[in-house]
């Protein structure tokens, strides 16, 4: 990435965050909640994209990382009455541990096998949440309402049942992962990931420990997914095993591909488009899942670079 582009890129990303911040003052309340949801899931997608878009590793097991954050935060609040901050940090820690574990196990495989093994591990996680349902309440799940202690920061009481708090909490986390991701992919590190995606053999012959970098990428990706999971628990105060199910691994895949794999802005765009599309069509027909299917096929067949990828190709070549 040439130096003259760096300023331009940074301003673009900061202004996106600024816009997201300002939107909450203009959009009607329902759309504010939609944006909250979108930002939480976009964070998830950002994490996923780091692996798929930049490192070229397609996982079908990210529901496991998401749920690790979700359950750790949820359970520690539910049983140990932890404060929001502690529970949240524990969620991140847990998703770090799990993704590190996965990084060392699953990356011994590659291609389709990587995809299958991540899927199966995620399935194991899902079954485990069912198996220990005397703790997790399995598929029925459990509720955090009334257990979220309001935070007190510098005299200001932050109550998580308020929509404003939800929105800005989601925004903060999204902004964080959004910028972290930007920093990563614009650094030497990001360039190496791309090199691995493009030509792993060559990357290794340039002296890069490709396996090591793939592991690192998976860990970052897992942590970001975990963060969004923890955030979901705090914002929507419900924890249940359906979030560990395979469908929740497919979602970030679709969002990322639609928005544009290997672009920093793509995940946000893809998530936003898809959530609104589903919300819109679900009021027209109960069969909106067809849309999900059609989208998956359409993107791969018709528009591989995805929305932002296409924009970059045609107009803004400098977009990261």
């Amino acid at each position: 990435m040439k130096l003259e582009n760096r300023r331009r890129i940074l301003t673009t990303h900061l202004s996106i965050i600024l816009v997201l911040f300002l939107l909450q003052f203009v959009v009607p309340p329902f759309h504010a909640t939609m944006l909250t949801r979108i930002m939480v899931f976009a964070t998830y997608a950002v994490g996923y994209n780091l692996l798929l878009g930049y490192t070229g590793l397609m996982s079908l097991g990210h529901a496991m990382f998401f749920s690790t954050g979700l359950y750790t935060t949820g359970l520690t609040i539910y049983y140990l009455d932890l404060g929001i901050v502690e529970a949240f940090l524990l969620g991140i820690l847990a998703s770090f541990v799990i993704s590190a574990l996965m990084a060392f196990i699953t990356l011994r495989t590659s291609g389709v096998f990587f995809l299958i093994i991540t899927m199966i591990f995620s399935q194991v996680f899902y079954l485990t949440t069912l198996y220990f349902n005397n703790v997790t309440y399995g598929d029925q799940g459990f509720v955090l309402t009334g257990k979220l202690k309001p935070l007190e920061l510098a005299g200001i009481i932050i109550d998580f049942s308020s929509n404003v708090v939800k929105y800005n909490f989601a925004l903060t986390l999204f902004a964080f992962s959004f910028l972290l991701n930007l920093r990563l992919v614009n650094s030497a590190f990001g360039r190496i990931l791309v090199a691995i995606r493009e030509n792993e053999e060559k990357a290794e012959m340039l002296g890069y420990n490709t396996l090591g970098f793939k592991r690192l990428a998976l860990i970052f990706s897992g942590i970001i997914a975990g963060i969004s999971g923890s955030a979901y628990a705090l914002i929507f105060s419900y924890v249940g095993s359906s979030f560990a199910f395979i469908h929740n691994s497919i979602n970030p895949l679709l969002w990322t591909l639609l928005g544009g794999a290997g672009t920093t802005i793509g995940p946000l765009v893809g998530t936003g488009l898809m959530l609104y599309l589903i919300d819109f069509t679900s009021s027209l027909t109960p069969h909106y899942p067809i849309l999900v299917g059609a989208m998956l096929i359409a993107v791969i067949l018709g528009f591989p670079p995805g929305v932002v990828g296409g924009i970059r190709r045609r107009w803004l070549k400098w977009l990261p």
Partner: protein, 251 residues
């Protein structure tokens, strides 16, 4: 167990061999490359040249035997670790990041060269990288097309680029696997000059079919046939070696 070889031997293989299933691609081989020379390995297709250098660069594991570099046993080192200690390999078929810009290709090499240690690359001064990259680009005369997609360069330039990407890695032993394959006459000339130029700084292990080029460049020539070294010596001697002429030149 071979004692440490004399100082001016840079690379040494001891009874290094590799078999694929039934086929013994490389019979136990002892090869010694001296510091600063241009060593050419010639031989018919399937003579085992590429397999041999692949074991040296660490891309494939030997079935038996050892590899010593500057007297150190590196048989166990992974390919990327060998790069770090100065063994650099360029592929037979042009192998660059075809979908990335020329600039990014060079930078990938540069930033590796600038960092020592495993993760050192994570905190790297981008300005320094840019400066180094510019140097390399101008050296091979690609400064102007730096933002071009590498895959769209003319064939010869892609090869130049690949060779150039070896420089920042500060190689001590540069393994070139048929660098002129498929190049036009004047492209070969350009490559040849670059190799001569490189040879001032590094030892070169050259696999080449183009005998003229070999005789022009090499200090020592090693001839392989059916997975074994059948002759070794100055270009002139090799030219006259009857054995070589029989198997290799088919005379």
């Amino acid at each position: 167990m071979v004692k440490m070889a004399s100082m001016n031997v840079l690379l040494e293989t001891v009874q290094l061999s590799r078999r694929f299933g039934g086929l013994e691609a490389v019979k136990p081989t002892n090869l010694r490359v001296r510091q600063g020379e241009i060593r050419a390995i010639i031989g018919t297709n399937g003579a085992g040249k590429t397999t041999l250098v692949n074991m040296i660069s660490g891309r494939i594991k030997p079935t038996s035997g050892k590899v010593f570099f500057k007297g150190r046993d590196i048989t166990r080192l992974k390919a990327y670790e060998r790069v770090a200690i100065g063994i650099v390999y360029t592929f037979q078929i042009i192998n660059i990041f075809k979908n990335l810009t020329v600039y990014d290709n060079v930078v990938l090499a540069v930033q590796r060269g600038l960092t020592k240690g495993r993760w050192g690359v994570l905190g790297l001064d981008q300005r320094l990288v840019d400066r180094e990259a510019e140097k390399i680009l101008s050296r091979i005369g690609l400064s102007d097309s730096s933002s071009q997609i590498a895959g769209t360069l003319p064939y010869g330039y892609q090869r130049m680029l690949e060779l150039a990407m070896a420089l920042p890695l500060k190689p001590e032993l540069l393994i070139l696997d048929e660098p002129t394959q498929g190049l036009s006459a004047e492209e070969i000339e350009r490559v040849a000059t670059l190799i001569k130029d490189l040879a001032k700084e590094v030892t070169i292990l050259l696999i080449e079919h183009n005998i003229r080029l070999v005789l022009e460049l090499a200090d020592t020539v090693t001839v392989m046939d059916k997975g074994a070294i059948i002759a070794e010596g100055r270009p002139r001697e090799i030219e006259e070696n009857a054995e070589v002429q029989r198997v290799y030149l088919g005379i």
